[in-house]
């Protein structure tokens, strides 16, 4: 039994219009995505803006309606509404924007205790104790308990968000661009911390980002999305050392190299990738510019290529 398994997930948003505001078309935000994650690992989801990463993540946690496909969590079908297994508390989310993800009108204690109040009956005292403990775990002083979010820096706020997410001891955390809004130095802080608690609590991450550098740093496995579809999936090293899809190559080439000595090399590399991209575009994408279905090229690495030829 896989820990998390997503099968042929499709999420379409209607576009309304016309005389009576009927549905006239749909945005295929996610269009046939399948992947699975092992417990305790980090799975990175990469892709350019609008490729459907967030939508996928939100669908798993139940914030988006699923058009078709299945999501299994520890063998339970989350898309089956008739079965009321409450596994929701085992899945939590960390949001991109540390500013809007905390209710500005609530004190830290209310924010962190919110999941506890929903699922556990604690006395006021127990609750306070628990919250202080969680804050301590994320490296904030328990004295902060009565402050408002605006009194914290971005990194601290993101950690409050994490404290809230781990309050129920979840098994899976969906982290949607958890550090994109943060400064480099603060990014480091949050990333380190996420790794720490992963070990400590045996967490599984679905780590969504468009920054390949960070995904590479965090993930064991990576899936690359393009226009709602997967173009490549594999172990982190495989993706970075042996990208197969032209789109993947292009992404990898676009990462700025931190060594100024490599400037020229990088530029030439990028140009060559760009040329290849332009030339062989039609080998990799169908008439609508969408990726083909994934095909295994090794047992841990698959690429979206057309069927035979």
């Amino acid at each position: 039994m896989e820990f998390l398994k997503v099968e042929d997930l499709k999420i379409h948003f209607p576009i309304r219009g016309g005389l009576l505001n009927r549905k006239i078309d749909s945005v295929r935000a996610v269009d046939g995505v399948s992947f699975s994650i092992e417990q305790g690992k980090t799975y990175g989801l990469v892709g350019e803006s609008g490729s459907g990463k967030t939508t996928t993540g939100r669908a798993i946690i139940g914030l988006n309606n699923i058009t078709s496909g299945k999501v299994f969590f520890e063998g339970n079908d989350l898309t089956d509404n008739s079965k009321k297994v409450d596994v929701r508390k085992d899945i939590q989310m960390i949001f991109q924007d540390p500013y809007s993800s905390l209710n500005p009108k609530k004190r830290v204690i209310d924010i962190v205790a919110e999941p506890l109040r929903n699922y556990e009956r604690l006395t006021k005292k127990e609750e306070r104790y628990k919250v202080a403990e969680l804050l301590e775990k994320v490296g904030l002083s328990p004295e902060s308990i009565l402050k408002y979010p605006h009194e914290f820096s971005g990194g601290q706020r993101q950690r409050i968000g994490i404290a809230r997410a781990i309050a129920l001891k979840p098994k899976l955390i969906i982290a949607d661009e958890p550090v994109s809004a943060l400064d480099v130095s603060v990014q480091a802080q949050v990333l380190n911390f996420m790794k720490d608690i992963q070990k400590e609590l045996n967490l599984t991450y679905l780590f969504i980002s468009h920054d390949l550098g960070i995904v590479k740093h965090m993930s064991d496995e990576i899936g690359i999305m393009y226009k709602g579809r997967y173009v490549e999936e594999g172990k982190t090293e495989e993706i970075f050392t042996n990208p197969q899809h032209i789109y993947t190559k292009r992404l990898v080439a676009a990462i700025p190299d931190i060594n100024p000595q490599n400037r020229e090399k990088q530029k030439i590399f990028r140009q060559s990738v760009q040329e290849e991209f332009e030339q062989s575009y039609h080998d990799y994408f169908d008439e609508e510019g969408l990726a083909y279905n994934l095909r295994n090229i090794s047992n841990s690495h698959s690429v979206a290529l057309p069927e035979k030829g």
Binding site: G18, L19, L20, N21
Partner: protein
């Protein structure tokens, strides 16, 4: 564009229908009817009752409604005023023209006042000038229109005698002549100005805050970085963008005017829709009441529609093709 308008009108249709039912019902619930005013020992009550019967005033309301709405839809017949013994359409025709001019002049005044004041206030915010203007908006907000209109009538109309104190035109002038036009204008100025001075404060304030907002937008910085002079920045960028919501408000102003005309027309004895409404309510001339409310309700709907259309015309972001 046309599709959009048609769609909006389609949405408006049930609204109007519902409005007509509501108004009709309300009118039915009003005590008395137009004939109840005819108490005269020389008039045979039976004759009055016969008239009632003939006019269908004794039918149940839904039958009366269906009769009425059929007339409205099929021949634009809004019924007949009991009091004026005329087709409602005709009475309203006269009054509507008067109210139209009053509203138009008021709107012109409103914008003539609001735009310079709002711009000055927004551009030089927190200066003395701005404080004066803001002061005016506060005073304007706190002064009920009817008090202002009453006092204005008193001082300018009577004490100084600069303006006529009632009516829409001096007697004896021939429609179409220049004197006639001037006289009408003369009769309009005071009511329109009173209404404009009071109701414009919202627009001034809105424009002010809109300008202050726009001033801080990034694209204004872009304009400055292009080397555009301050006046150009204001005229080409800030104003255009701040006036947009004001333009869009234009349609809603119409709705606002309706309330104002009731007061102003009553106070200045200006024979328009507002005055007609109050009279008709008092005299239970309810075919007129229904027609006035319905018409002004439709005006509100059209105002809102107009706003949407203006907005979609001037704002490329929501331009409808």
């Amino acid at each position: 564009m046309w599709k959009f308008i048609v769609r909006r009108l389609l949405i408006a249709l049930p609204q109007i229908l519902l409005l007509s039912v509501l108004v009709f019902l309300m009118a039915q619930m009003m005590p008395g009817d137009a004939l109840s005013g005819l108490i005269d020992p020389n008039i045979d009550p039976a004759a009055i009752e016969a008239q009632r019967e003939r006019l269908g005033l004794n039918d149940p309301w839904h039958i009366q409604y269906v009769d009425w709405i059929t007339g409205v839809v099929t021949e634009g017949d809004l019924g007949r005023s009991f009091r004026y013994k005329m087709d409602v359409t005709e009475i309203i025709g006269q009054r509507l023209v008067n109210t139209f001019w009053l509203s138009l002049v008021t709107l012109i005044f409103t914008y003539l006042i609001a735009i310079p004041l709002g711009i000055t206030s927004g551009r030089y915010n927190d200066t003395f000038r701005d404080q004066m203007i803001t002061g005016y908006t506060y005073v304007g907000f706190a002064t009920p229109l009817f008090i202002f209109a009453l006092v204005a009538l008193w001082i300018l109309g009577f004490q100084f005698g600069w303006f006529p104190t009632g009516g829409s035109v001096s007697p004896g002038l021939t429609p179409g002549t220049f004197e006639y036009f001037l006289s009408r204008l003369h009769h309009l100025i005071l009511p329109a100005l009173s209404m404009a001075l009071i109701t414009t404060v919202n627009t001034v304030q809105y424009l002010r805050s809109e300008i202050i907002d726009t001033k801080q937008k990034d694209f204004i910085i872009t304009a400055r970085a292009k080397g555009a002079s301050e006046s150009r920045v204001y005229n080409r960028h800030i104003l255009r963008n701040s006036l947009l919501p004001i333009a869009a408000f234009f349609g809603f102003e119409i709705t606002g005017l309706i309330g104002g005309t009731i007061f102003v027309e009553t106070i200045y004895s200006y024979p328009g829709m507002g005055q007609l409404f109050i009279e008709s309510i008092n005299l239970r001339d309810y075919s007129v009441v229904i027609a006035v409310v319905l018409l002004l309700g439709i005006a509100s709907i059209l105002g809102a529609l107009l706003s949407d259309i203006i907005l979609s015309l001037v704002d490329p972001r929501i331009r409808i093709k």
